[in-house]
Each structure stands twice: as structure tokens, then as C-alpha cells.
């Protein structure tokens, strides 16, 4: 199927949904809408009737005021359980997915999502735990969150971590709100109005700056795909709040002047923000905290392999240096009884620490506040914790080694076929250009993607980053075999 942009007005099946089933004449694999399978009075799941006692007792209580009642029941589909299930199973068969085939969608780290992670997330003790349960009933959830935050600190070298943001972009928002709170605390809230963003950045970076009320200034890349240091230095000044830099970048390149970049930003009194979406390439090799970054976000769903779910859920924890710590979202999980070293050692051995107790600290006067209800996408924390424990210290290093090996292998193996605008060491991914194919044969990157589709493989990311003509961004990850 080749598709055009849809008419904007049809984003809901209501109009046609109840006009009856599609005719049976035309045979195709296309699955009708669930509404088209509906027939009045058909049922799947049913519920019990209230007991007589409940009914009697309820009788004396106020009903809903007539003015608040709806006139017509919502026209939800009426289908049998089997019809419902078949519908979604058939839709599932129309998808490509990691669990079926290679899915080298660049920038998305489409690696294997281990099934044991799902096992963990479904443990009733975790899945059925209510976020507002009294803390005494929720010590397991709190310990898990605390342990995960400790691990993310160790992995990133940051001083403190909040798990609250629900995705990478949400982490960016959180980080930039903290940036602003920091400048405000120093009386520079009004003077620092700009955020610098390299031209290779992901769209969420500039969009985030806007949401925080900052103005985006684009910094061009140099001919090696890195940030142009001169351009950066000249843009930096007392009106700059932060630099948001993605490292490794969306070109799959490690910013090899990163030390100078961070120094320049700090010299200007600005905050160095690292977009950690591509952390999968540098585990155990580079820790943003050690390099002086003030704030970063993790894409837990990418690096720590939680299933991407057709577009989410994810999780976007933020790590900060000491200087931003007071501004972290509230609450944070704190260990109030028992020693951190003991707890870490015991957990390493699979043991609970007698007497240890955690609490949610919501008394954080400088905090930017809450960015999400409750504490974040807890189910993703469970999966990420499982993943980190499964891999362990050595395994996490191997992940990055193998991911980088695979990307470089692809780079050299496809080097003859496609142009390589930045022919340097790759990190998590390699970005080719189809410009030659386009010029010489009139074959666009879109055409190439369609050809890849015919092999049952999901195409790479296309036409991004914007600075590469006819870009084809391939991220093999460490879990694809030769």
C-alpha cells in the first residue's frame, strides 16, 4: 500500500462506523473497523448484578441528578469475545515488529525486549500495587525505584535521578524546567532566554525549549558532523540558559570535542544538557556526569529495553548534578532507615535488608513540582531494573560494544553502496545518504525504504537528521545476528 496524507477531517470512525458491515463481495486482507463488526445486543464481557442487600441499602441514597445524565448510550461496539479477539489478532498480523524481524529504525534502539521483563512487570505484587497505598504496604515498589535510581546514577555519573518523566521528551521538559528554576534561583531567570540546539538535534529538543518559554537558537554542525565550536562559542553569552546536545548525536557520532563543549557552556554560565537517547552506544565508556553535564535524560525504553508498544509507553528519567538536585521533581524516594551501602550489597545478593525503610519525600521547597501524576511509568521501571540486573556490570558494557560493532560493521559493509556524509566511527547507528542513488538513478530514499519493506524488514529512519540529504539512519542494535 502506498498512502497519501490522510484527509484531516477523518480521525474518528463515528461517521461511518454504524452504517453497517462492509460488503462481502470484495475479498481482501483488510480488516473492517471494530464498529463495523457491531450488532445490537451482542456481548462479550459481562458483570454481576448487585446483591439484593446492596440494592436495598443503596435505595435510600441519592441517585444521579437527571440533568447530569446522558441521553444516549455511547455507541461502543457490540461484539462477542471471539469477534473482538479475532479483530485485534488480525490487526496484529498487519504489523511489523521486533519480535518478527529486523527493525533497524534509527534513533529508536529497536533491540530485543526480553520476555523475562514482562514476567516481572506482571507479578501481582507489583502490577496490583496502588500508587497511594500507605507506604508501609508499598516498600517493595519504593525499594525498586530507589535501586533503579541508584543504578542510573552509577551508569550516568550524575548525582541524583528522578524517575518521574514518562518519556524522553518529558525528561527534556523536566530538565529544562529545572534549568530555568536554577537560573531563577540565581536571579538570572529573566536574562537567560535562549537555548542552543545543534542543527542535527531531534525535534523534541527545540519543541521542549519552546514549552519552557525559551527561544531556540540553532547551532550548525561542522563538516565532521560535530558541533561547530566556533559557532557555539559565538552564540554563547549571558542570555543563554542552556545547550541541549545529543551525544552520541543523531548522526551516530560521538562528539569528540565534548570536553571543550561542556567547558564553553559552563564558562558562559549556562547549563549543559545531554539528550541521552543514544546511551546504548556508550555504556561503561562515557558518563555524562563525569564529563560535567548538569542534566540529562535517559530513554529507559531504548537503552534498557522496554517494549515500545507501537509508540509507547516509555520512561524518561532525568539525572542531574548537585547543582540542579534541589529542583528535581517532587516527590523523590528516600531511604530513611538503614544504610545505603547495606541495602545495595544485600540487593546485589537478592536479599532484603532488615529494618530498611523508604519514604516518598514531598517536602522539596525548590522543586519544579510534579511533571506527572504519581511517580512515573512504574511498569517500565520494573522492566528496566530486571534488564539491568540480568545484564549486570559486564553485560551492560558488552551491550554497547556489540551495538557499536554492529553499526560500524554496517557502515563498512554498505559504504560502497551508499554515500556516507560523515565517514567516521559510528556509535549506535550509521547515517547513509541516498543522494547518489537519487541523482544517478532517480531512486529516492523513500523508494529504497519500500524495497526494504518487500524483504519483510522494517525500513530505517528516513529523511532525518535534516542535515543529511536523503538520509537513511540505520541502528542495528546489539541484538541482531550476523
Amino acid at each position: 500500500m502506498s498512502v497519501a496524507e490522510a484527509p484531516a477531517s477523518d480521525t474518528s470512525g463515528r461517521g461511518s462506523a454504524f452504517s453497517g458491515a462492509t460488503g462481502g463481495e470484495e475479498l481482501s486482507i483488510v480488516e473492517p473497523l471494530i464498529f463495523e463488526r457491531s450488532r445490537a445486543q451482542r456481548r462479550a464481557v459481562r458483570f454481576p448484578q448487585p446483591s439484593d442487600r446492596a440494592r436495598q441499602r443503596a435505595a435510600g441514597q441519592p441517585t444521579l441528578p437527571a440533568s447530569a445524565l446522558r441521553q444516549q448510550a455511547p455507541r461502543l461496539p457490540e461484539v462477542s469475545e471471539l469477534e473482538m479477539l479475532r479483530h485485534f489478532n488480525r490487526l496484529a498480523h498487519l504489523n511489523q515488529a521486533i519480535d518478527l524481524n529486523f527493525y533497524p529504525l534509527g534513533s529508536c534502539t529497536m533491540k530485543y525486549n526480553p520476555k523475562v521483563n514482562e514476567w516481572s512487570a506482571r507479578l501481582p505484587g507489583l502490577a496490583e500495587s496502588h500508587p497511594l497505598d500507605p507506604e508501609g504496604l508499598a516498600q517493595g515498589s519504593l525499594e525498586l525505584m530507589w535501586l533503579l535510581a541508584e543504578q542510573l546514577k552509577e551508569i550516568s555519573g550524575m548525582a541524583a535521578v528522578s524517575l518521574q518523566p514518562a518519556a524522553g521528551a518529558h525528561g527534556e521538559l523536566t530538565g529544562m524546567l529545572m534549568t530555568r528554576a536554577y537560573h531563577r534561583s540565581r536571579g538570572e531567570g529573566d536574562s537567560r532566554t535562549k537555548v542552543l540546539v545543534p542543527d542535527s538535534a531531534h525535534g523534541t529538543n527545540p519543541a521542549t525549549a519552546t514549552m519552557v518559554g525559551y527561544q531556540t537558537v540553532t547551532i550548525r554542525s561542522n563538516e565532521r558532523g560535530g558541533i561547530d565550536l566556533e559557532a557555539l562559542r559565538s552564540a554563547l553569552g549571558p542570555d543563554v540558559a542552556a545547550l541541549m546536545i545529543t551525544n552520541p548525536s543523531t548522526l551516530g557520532i560521538f562528539e569528540d570535542q565534548i570536553d571543550q563543549v561542556v567547558a564553553a557552556v559552563h564558562d558562559a554560565g549556562a547549563i549543559a544538557y545531554m539528550d541521552g537517547a543514544n546511551l546504548n552506544a556508550i555504556l561503561g565508556r562515557f558518563r555524562p556526569g563525569e564529563a560535567g553535564f548538569d542534566v540529562m535524560h535517559f530513554n529507559l525504553h531504548k537503552t534498557f529495553s522496554t517494549p515500545h508498544g507501537g509508540g509507547g509507553p516509555g520512561a524518561g528519567p532525568v539525572g542531574v548534578s548537585d547543582k540542579l538536585e534541589p529542583f528535581l521533581p517532587s516527590p523523590t524516594v528516600v531511604l530513611v532507615e538503614g544504610g545505603a551501602t547495606d541495602v545495595l550489597r544485600n540487593a546485589r545478593d537478592g536479599r532484603s535488608t532488615p529494618g530498611a525503610r523508604w519514604t516518598l519525600d514531598d517536602d522539596r521547597p525548590d522543586s519544579i513540582g510534579k511533571v506527572r501524576s504519581c511517580y512515573g511509568n512504574f511498569g517500565m521501571f520494573v522492566r528496566a531494573y530486571t534488564y539491568i540486573r540480568s545484564n549486570g556490570a559486564e553485560g551492560l558494557r558488552t551491550i554497547s560494544e556489540d551495538a557499536v560493532l554492529a553499526a560500524n560493521y554496517l557502515r563498512v559493509r554498505r559504504h560502497d553502496v551508499y554515500d556516507l556524509p560523515y565517514d567516521r566511527l559510528s556509535k549506535h547507528e550509521v547515517v547513509f545518504s541516498g543522494r547518489r542513488q537519487k541523482r544517478q538513478h532517480g531512486v529516492t530514499t523513500l523508494d529504497i525504504a519500500k524495497a526494504i519493506l518487500d524483504h519483510g524488514i522494517h525500513p530505517p529512519t528516513m529523511y532525518f537528521p535534516l542535515i543529511v540529504e536523503e538520509a537513511l539512519m540505520v541502528e542495528p542494535t546489539e541484538t541482531e545476528s550476523l
Binding site: 490522510a6 502490577a127 552509577e154 524546567l177 569528540d256 556508550i282 560493532l405
Partner: protein, 443 residues
């Protein structure tokens, strides 16, 4: 261990092809001064070991035997068939459906999700999706500011306190002021939002139906209050209640935000959930987040694609309506599967049974003399009860594995000695009896 398939021979072959001697060479681009020092992380675990560790943590939680806790997160039946659908790895291990040829499953199900949310809310267009109800509410308020070109937001004190905090945080970004519209919290009062006129520079009024205390709000009147000030009404709703309650589209809401968790999603200590947002078609170009539209392919076959992407960050960058990218798609699928499985009749049964049990609970508490309703008016399936010495008794019951709802004074000091108790279709008569007798025993 890792999940890497590479054997040492594979690695050697790759290094050879690349033309480097060791894998360290591939990290030569990291300046020496910033290379990572050693880390202290635990060693790898085999599957059986990691399962033991996670079972340990799960075992340190205690799932209450009886719980009346809601406060925005509700324990409903999740039909087995819903788990079956979202467990399918063709859905779970795909990503954003940029490539329609290999994503029709995700795309069509999102289109159905949007249609279902429109049905429930009576609105014309729904997004897919937001992080949760709180961020959906905040994004709706920001959208109202863009639509009205105003920069003050009024929010009812009857909106979930967590949502109000998130709203504050989001509004602090572009420097939007948030003003709180009080609700009548007096003992025996209405428990609903004040109908005082709004200032005429307010972009929107955010109000919840039912409100945080379970009370039924006069939404039609609140819409008038908002519209009289030239503001929009952002209705924050609870989706199962919409089986019975007037849809926001009918009482004049301009925007709707909701937490989708009650629709087939487990409590899971706070997430993942799904934020719902719906609006009028006229406002669609200011909507944040993803939208899927129906279209036809070259050979005339129906298909689905991401649409109106020119609102989104990957196209518009700093001019985008929001920075949202990864959202809560799989949870939206859970809601889609849930609504398809229960249908209109099932959703009605859920709402009615939840309501009946709330009333049963009130009667039983009042009969036993352990509590009385704090407010007048009507309520849905959550109810504020005045219970003497509530904090102490709430804690005492927790020790026994009984959670006596939400302690209202946590967020509203004027609400001392008040428990907000939620019931659902899973609340049994026995649960109610146990709560009442436990309260009696702590008198």
C-alpha cells in the same frame, strides 16, 4: 549475560571487516579526559536469579485484602481478553507507526481508539495519546491558552490535586498563571465548584466531573461561567462514569482530558497509564500529540496514516504544539480492547454496580455509625465520608491490610477527619462489611 547473539567469532569477523584490532578502537573518539572510570554495578544474573530478585521485591509489597482507595486510580476488572490483546508482540514490540505499510495494525487500532474516545466524550476529535490524565489536563490548558491567546488558567479545587500540581508545573514553563476556583468544602456543603464569574483574561476553566471527592458538578453551569468570560471549559472526566453521565460534548466543554487507567489498565504503582484528550474539530490544529486518519491507497483500498503531523515536533520543531513524541500507545490499545470487550452494556454495568456499591457503603457506614457523608448533592462512585479520628483509624486499618480510602487532609487541611472512599464493580458486599467492622473496632 546479555541478549547479544554475537559469539567471539562473530566479533572477530566484524572487527576484521571494519579493520580495527579491538573493540576499544571503536571508542577512540571519546576524549581521554572524559572516558568513563569503572563503575560499581552488580554482576549479571541468570533468568532464575533475576526472577528470584523481582519476586523478592514484589513480596515486599502487600496488596491489601480490602481497599477503598481510588483518588484517580481505580481497581476495575481487566478482562483476560484485554491482556491477550496487548500481550501480542506484534503490537508490543513495534514503534511509532511512521511506516504505514507495516503498521496498519497499530494505525487502525489507534483510529478506533480515537473514535471510541469521541463516542464516550461526545467530542469531535481525540488524540492518541498522552502520558496520563494529569499531563493531558495540563496540555489541554496550554492548548486553551493558545486558542484564546490568553495566559491565565482557572482550575477548580475539585480537580485531582496531582493534576493541579502538574498543571502548575506545565504552566510555569510559558509563564502562565494558575488561579484556583474554590469548591464548597464546608461540612454539609455542596462539595462543588463555585459559580462566581471568572475574570475576563482567563483562557479556560478546568473542572472535574465527578470531582476529586466524587461529587457531581453542575457542568452546564460551569460551561456558562467559562463561556461568559470568553474562556474555554476543560472538562476532566472519569471514563467509566461516561456510561451514565452526560458527555462533555453535550454540556459545552471545549476540551476534555481524562485518565484512561480505569479502562483495562492495572494500577501498577502509578503507571503506565494513558492520558486522553478530546476537542472540537475547529481546534484540531492546536492539538498536541498524535492523530491517525483514514485514507485510501493508490488502488483505492482503505488504510490509516499519521495525520496533521505539521503540529508535531518532528516536523515543526520549535513551533510544534507540544514536544510529545513517545506516548502511551500500548495503553491506548488496552483501553480500545477494553471498551470493545465490555461494550455499551458492560460499561453501563460497571458504572451502575460501582455506584450501587458506593451507596451501599454509605448506608452501611451510616447505619453502623462509623461515618456520615460530608457533602450534600449527589456523587458517582467515590464519596467523602466524615469519620472521627480518620487519620489514626486509616493507619490502624492499613496495618490489617484494609485501605480505608484516601485521607482527604493530605491535600486539603480543611478536610480533616474525612475519608474519600471509592467503590468499583469489584467491591464486594464482604469488603464493605469488613471495612465497617474494622472501623467499628477502632472506635
Amino acid at each position: 549475560m546479555t541478549y547479544s547473539p554475537h559469539t567471539d567469532a562473530d566479533r572477530a569477523r566484524m572487527l576484521d571487516a571494519i579493520g580495527v584490532a579491538s573493540v576499544d578502537d571503536l571508542f577512540a573518539d571519546i576524549p581521554a579526559s572524559v572516558r568513563a572510570s569503572d563503575w560499581d554495578l552488580p554482576p549479571s544474573l541468570s533468568e532464575q536469579e533475576v526472577r528470584a530478585e523481582l519476586a523478592r521485591l514484589a513480596g515486599r509489597n502487600r496488596i491489601p485484602d480490602v481497599s477503598f482507595l481510588g483518588a484517580g486510580v481505580y481497581r476495575h476488572l481487566i478482562p483476560s481478553v484485554v491482556g491477550e490483546v496487548i500481550g501480542r508482540s506484534e503490537f508490543a514490540t513495534a514503534y511509532t507507526p511512521y511506516q504505514p505499510e507495516v503498521s496498519q495494525g497499530t494505525l487502525q487500532s489507534i483510529y478506533e481508539f480515537q473514535s471510541l474516545i469521541c463516542e464516550l466524550t461526545g467530542m469531535e476529535v481525540a488524540t492518541a495519546s498522552h502520558y496520563d490524565g494529569a499531563t493531558a489536563t495540563a496540555e489541554a490548558a496550554l492548548m486553551a491558552c493558545r486558542l484564546t491567546r490568553r495566559s491565565r488558567v482557572a482550575v477548580s479545587a475539585g480537580v485531582n490535586p496531582d493534576y493541579r500540581r502538574v498543571l502548575e508545573t506545565y504552566c510555569s514553563g510559558p509563564g502562565i498563571e494558575v488561579v484556583t476556583v474554590p469548591i464548597d468544602l464546608a461540612d454539609g456543603g455542596s462539595g462543588t465548584t463555585s459559580l462566581e464569574p471568572l475574570a475576563d483574561d482567563v483562557a479556560c476553566l478546568v473542572a472535574a466531573q465527578p470531582n476529586f471527592y466524587g461529587q457531581i458538578e453542575p457542568m452546564r453551569e460551569l460551561a456558562t461561567v467559562a463561556h461568559d468570560a470568553g474562556a474555554q471549559l476543560v472538562a476532566v472526566v472519569e471514563p467509566t462514569s461516561l456510561a451514565l453521565l452526560e458527555p462533555p460534548g453535550a454540556y459545552g466543554a471545549d476540551l476534555v482530558a481524562a485518565e484512561g487507567q480505569p479502562l483495562g489498565i492495572p494500577a501498577s504503582f502509578g503507571g503506565p497509564y494513558v492520558g486522553l484528550m478530546a476537542a472540537r474539530m475547529a481546534s484540531v490544529r492546536q492539538m498536541p500529540g498524535r492523530l491517525v486518519g483514514a485514507t485510501r491507497d493508490g488502488s483505492g483500498r482503505k488504510g490509516y496514516v499519521l495525520t496533521l503531523q505539521a503540529r508535531e515536533q518532528h516536523i515543526r520543531r520549535e513551533k510544534a504544539a507540544s514536544n510529545i513524541c513517545t506516548n502511551q500507545a500500548l495503553m491506548a490499545l488496552a483501553a480500545t480492547a477494553y471498551l470493545s470487550a465490555v461494550g455499551p452494556q458492560g460499561l453501563r454495568e460497571v458504572a451502575e454496580l460501582s455506584m450501587t456499591q458506593a451507596r451501599h457503603l454509605v448506608a452501611a457506614m451510616e447505619e453502623a455509625g462509623v461515618g456520615v457523608r460530608r457533602f450534600g448533592g449527589s456523587y458517582f462512585a467515590e464519596v467523602a465520608m466524615r469519620v472521627p479520628d480518620a487519620a489514626r483509624r486509616h493507619a490502624a486499618l492499613a496495618e490489617q491490610g484494609i485501605v480505608a480510602g484516601y485521607l482527604a487532609e493530605r491535600d486539603a487541611p480543611e478536610m480533616q477527619d474525612t475519608l474519600v472512599l471509592a467503590t468499583t464493580e469489584l467491591t464486594t458486599d464482604d469488603d464493605i462489611a469488613r471495612l465497617v467492622s474494622a472501623l467499628e473496632a477502632t472506635r
